[in-house]
Symmetry: C2
């Protein structure tokens, strides 16, 4: 545990907007660890709001931020945990109804579009808004999937910008560390590039491969006898379609850049298969295996 | 268990050529189940041959088929378990030195090239040669990875051709069923098409993606922060480079066909990301999720 995690920050009210898997796990984790005086959930869906209270994920829940906006003070924190393209709407709500200098942070998968939306809405990036992205998920979703220990041993990437205040950054870092996460920082641009290549592109590829087999190849045996290799792809392609639609739009430029590099590489492989260029194939296959071995070593460290 | 598995076939000698994971597991599995009078291993590598006996995977082992060819009778079975492109060399050995009508079968990942090689070497496809492919593997390899229960609950695809004798087909089917495998039959062409789409193409894609990230994207953070989705791809891309090189050459035509369908699909996805065509993206993502859900249901049946 790092130094910053040793002193527990004082937080009066924690407001979590969007109480699905990501928001619900954050709320329940901090509630269980007794870090906040009160944990409040906001969900547009009244049933989910009610359920969040019944499940003990939050202390109180409302369907709109307006209902508790005037209660908030500088000692409070708002965590935005809605799908990527819906963050802007929540920022508009905050701008409209929250007057205190509350620490704001989010969990959206793309950071560039949130940064731009915040500058547009607030005139400039607020010093109290710390952009973030927990690298954690599950095939399950919704408040019933909330797990107070979801973030243990997972990475959280924070992407502070020039105007971000060190005090608010520290506060958000401490909250994630209390939940057992490892906090890394990088620039907004690096985050979106790295995630485009290592997460968004693989998902686009997996969706496209499963669609090719389900739709473009006219062989009824394809799925019946689907063998090794394919199962991993179908698991990747089983995530929430709306979430991935949002990500493809929000991180479009970086995804297209890495997709084009991949397409070029795949076309080189295609032509080496066609020409039976053993040297090239063995070089690429060995290089990929080495990269995998290094990556595995890195994970174990 | 099907009818054919209830009566245990009589086999005098089982000869396994290539005693790595696939051959060693077949040998050890039948030896443990007491089905054969004797299990003989053939490995070009004298150390592996010695080790196979020491580990109890086989009863005797030799470095060349010639050493036991004259011992063989019509009641014996040869299982060829060498990499795809090396099967032809073993068939040449059999043609040269085995005179008895031994049941021959193999475990290579591609069937069309083995079928062609056999016709070339024997003049026509021998009625006693049953083409086969167990859908089982492991990240481990070599005789030390041999596991007598590797094939339990795995599928084995046999691809009998017109000249294949029903008696030899039954014999090979029974052997696999004794090992706990489920035996399916399909045509050579269907096998190579289905495997190209569901196994060979996914592997080519995974190798190409890992290579793109390791080689083409100049960002040192790529592997350090590699996130969800990527790990599954690196596992697929960690298989033996030589084995996959052989498969890409042996099943070239079918792999290129499915690779081109995938590339077209990916380019449609690329253009829909660029144009922010939400309808197309949501349709493809939902269709892939449905296909995955159906596939998962099918596996559970």
């Amino acid at each position: 545990m790092s130094d910053s995690a040793q002193k527990i920050p004082f937080i009066r009210k924690l407001v979590v907007v969007g109480i699905g898997l990501i928001g619900g796990s954050f709320a329940a984790g901090l509630k269980n660890r007794g870090v906040c005086e009160e944990v409040i959930g906001i969900s547009r869906n009244p049933d989910q709001a009610k359920q969040a209270v019944e499940l003990g994920v939050v202390d109180r829940a409302f369907t709109s931020l307006d209902e508790i906006a005037t209660e908030l003070t500088d000692e409070d924190v708002i965590f935005i945990a809605v799908p990527t393209l819906s963050v802007e709407k929540v920022l508009l709500d905050i701008h409209r109804c929250v007057t205190a200098k509350v620490t704001i942070t989010d969990g959206a998968s793309v950071k560039g579009n949130v940064f731009i939306a915040a500058q547009k809405i607030f005139g400039q990036m607020p010093s109290e808004f710390v952009l973030g992205h927990p690298i954690a998920g599950s095939e399950k979703s919704g408040v019933t999937a909330a797990n107070p220990n979801l973030y243990e041993n997972h990475r959280v990437i924070l992407t502070p910008v020039e105007s971000t205040s060190a005090q608010h950054l520290l506060r958000v870092t401490q909250l994630w560390e209390i939940l057992g996460a490892e906090v890394l920082t990088m620039t907004v641009e690096d985050h979106d590039d790295v995630l485009a290549a290592t997460s968004h592109l693989p998902h686009a590829i997996a969706y496209s491969l499963v669609d090719t087999l389900a739709h473009d190849i006219a062989n009824p045996n394809i799925f019946r006898y689907a063998a090794g290799g394919f199962r991993d792809f179908t698991r990747i392609a089983s995530s929430d379609p709306v979430m991935w639609h949002d990500i493809m739009k929000a991180n479009k430029a970086a995804i297209l850049r890495s997709l084009d590099l991949f397409t070029d590489n795949l076309q080189r492989m295609r032509s080496s298969i066609e020409k039976e260029d053993s040297d090239y194939l063995l070089e690429v296959f060995s290089r990929a295996k080495e990269a995998r071995d290094e990556y595995t070593k890195m994970l174990k460290k």
